[in-house]
Amino acid sequence: MMYPLLRVEDLTIGFPAATVVHEVSFEVFPGETMALVGESGCGKSITAFALMRLLPPGARILRGEVMFDGINLVTAAPRTLRDVRGRTLSLILQEPMTSLNPVLPIGMQIAEVMRRHEGIGKAAARRRSVELLELVGVTDAQRRYDDFPHHFSGGMRQRVMIAMAVACNPKLLIADEPTTALDVTIQAQVLDLLDSLRRQLGMAVLLITHDLGVVAQWADRVTVMYAGRVVEQAPVRPFFASPRHPYARGLLDASVGHDGEAHYTTRRLNEIPGSVASAAFEHGCPFAPRCPVRIDACRLSSPPLVALVPEHRVACIVTAGTEHVPAVG
């Protein structure tokens, strides 16, 4: 049994007005790609930022634990946290156009993280940065070291961000929708690059996305979030073969290709009825108002995450009730 590199337990995050992430738990094992999937506003990005304690002003971690590499990041001292950030745990943001500092040369921005954590000199940091730029596929890296972010396209900037994120050989890379802002052909290139770096450097990737196609192609395991809660957690193959939570089933039904023929004959895309519940939803199962299989009990309390088979967990009392449920674990 491998020990998880990152273990998030009962993470609850609140804004002054409402709690937006409720008792989220998941693990990331060394070297794997774990996808955190959900639609806009379901709390997946907030969860990712909370792991690094980079929440926007006003948001606070109310409960829970984030054990990473033997350190509880929720309670760690600021200095300890700074030593972790950028060295063993790094971050790529969604919007490459704004996530690099516009007034500093990109090479310097990469070198900065190595000088901070590895205490190497200016010349050595420059040499390593150029190597990293070559590694992520920036051509003519030696010359482009001194270029500014506005000299690069979106895809190239994201490569620069990746170079920065992997500079200190992190154990875990959190990628918050790294390709959402890029066009589709570039998306695949960037994700391929991330995946090959993951293999080369032996790091784990926590991939935040709303794109099930991305999950199917690049993730090992998947955690589905809905309205601030985890609703299903499984390895990718079983998940796509037989999603258990009604929300996950609805999502897969709604995608073209899963039942492409039906789509092209009826010319109507399947959808989940209703609209998404607020993440601040307090009572009962948040999906209940839209759920095709709900029972009265669904509205009473939010369902716990239970394992149907080892590795495949779901938060749905209906599914759990109709299938054989072994002990939680």
Partner: protein, 328 residues
């Protein structure tokens, strides 16, 4: 792009706009000044206490004031083309000598005021941004509001009352101790002492403007994605602020500072009068009261040149701060 190339381009671009403007200003002012009742001969005669019609006529003939208006204008412009600024009737010396003697003082005052406004303003704005909506911020907001709403000359006068009259710390008048033979550091210290109060009075309004601007843009920068990136790299908050935030936040401040250089020159007239500072501003005032129009036109000409050069300097500073700005 080289710094010199950039400076040259900006100068050329500015010159195209500035040359006609300057000539326009000169011609307009020439006619406006001629409409003012009295001329240099009247003032000199009045100060002498008595004058005959003959001496007045002789004075006018000497300064060319008896010529028709257009002839006077053309001869002034002709002089200008040959880089001569004419002769001062009142000070009895060439205008260019007069201005060049005063120019360094005005430059010194402007520069000191600008630096003080930028340094104090940015520091205050930064502190306000760090303590946003807590008591240091609120306290500074009140101070800044007072600086913003009080005229510079009044602050100047009150500073004289406090620091010169009551406390006796700083001199109230002039730009150096007369009759001393100081050298080296002592000379510098002496000059600096005289510089403090006038530059503070001149800078006060701009300190307020830059403090507010820096506060707003520092708060704006904190919300940017690249600040989160910087934090995710494990940088210390101080490094983040100094290295990543400040430079971005300064871009709007330098833009404003460039626009303010002209205002600063205008403000200098008042402040130089309050502090008896022998600069161009006071020279302009003396020229008006003495009807010494050659001097006044010379001052106006030099002031516009000064503003143009200052704008080039600001443009270069801007290019260094923000690499995205490139001349197409």
């Amino acid at each position: 792009m080289t710094v010199l190339g950039r400076a040259g381009r900006t100068l050329r671009r500015t010159a195209w706009q500035a040359l006609p403007t300057t000539i326009g200003i000169i011609v307009l002012c020439f006619f406006l000044l001629k409409m003012v009742p009295g001329d240099a001969a009247d003032v000199i005669a009045a100060e002498a206490g008595s004058a005959t019609a003959e001496t007045m006529a002789a004075l006018r003939a000497r300064f060319g004031l008896d010529q028709p208006l257009l002839t006077q204008l053309l001869s002034y412009l002709d002089n200008l083309v040959h880089l001569r600024l004419g002769y001062s009737a009142r000070f009895n010396m060439p205008v260019s000598d007069l201005i060049l003697a005063r120019l360094p003082n005005t430059l010194l005052l402007m520069l000191a005021a600008m630096i003080m406004a930028l340094v104090v303003g940015i520091l205050a704005g930064w502190v306000m941004a760090i303590f946003a909506n807590r008591w240091p911020d609120r306290l500074l907001q009140v101070v800044v509001l007072i600086f913003y709403s009080t005229p510079g000359f009044w602050i100047g006068l009150m500073a004289i009352v406090l620091f010169s009259v009551k406390l006796g710390w700083l001199p109230a008048n002039g730009n150096m101790t007369l009759g001393t033979d100081l050298t080296g550091f002592a000379l510098l210290a002496d000059r600096a002492q005289y510089l403090v109060l006038p530059s503070l009075a001149l800078a006060s309004f701009f300190i307020a403007v830059y403090a507010r601007l820096t506060r707003a843009s520092m708060l704006e920068v904190q919300r940017q994605d690249f600040m989160r990136t910087a934090a995710a790299k494990g940088l210390h908050p101080v490094t983040m602020q100094l290295h990543h935030a400040l430079r971005n936040a300064l871009i709007p401040v330098t833009t404003m500072a460039g626009l303010h250089l002209g205002n600063l020159l205008g403000g200098a007239v008042v402040i130089e009068t309050v502090y008896g500072w022998p600069g161009m501003g006071r020279l302009a005032l003396e020229a008006v009261t003495g009807r010494d129009f050659n001097v006044l036109l010379g001052v106006l000409l030099f002031s516009s040149l000064l503003v143009i050069l200052a704008n080039v300097a600001i443009d270069l500073l801007h290019a260094w701060l923000d690499p995205r700005i490139e001349v197409q």
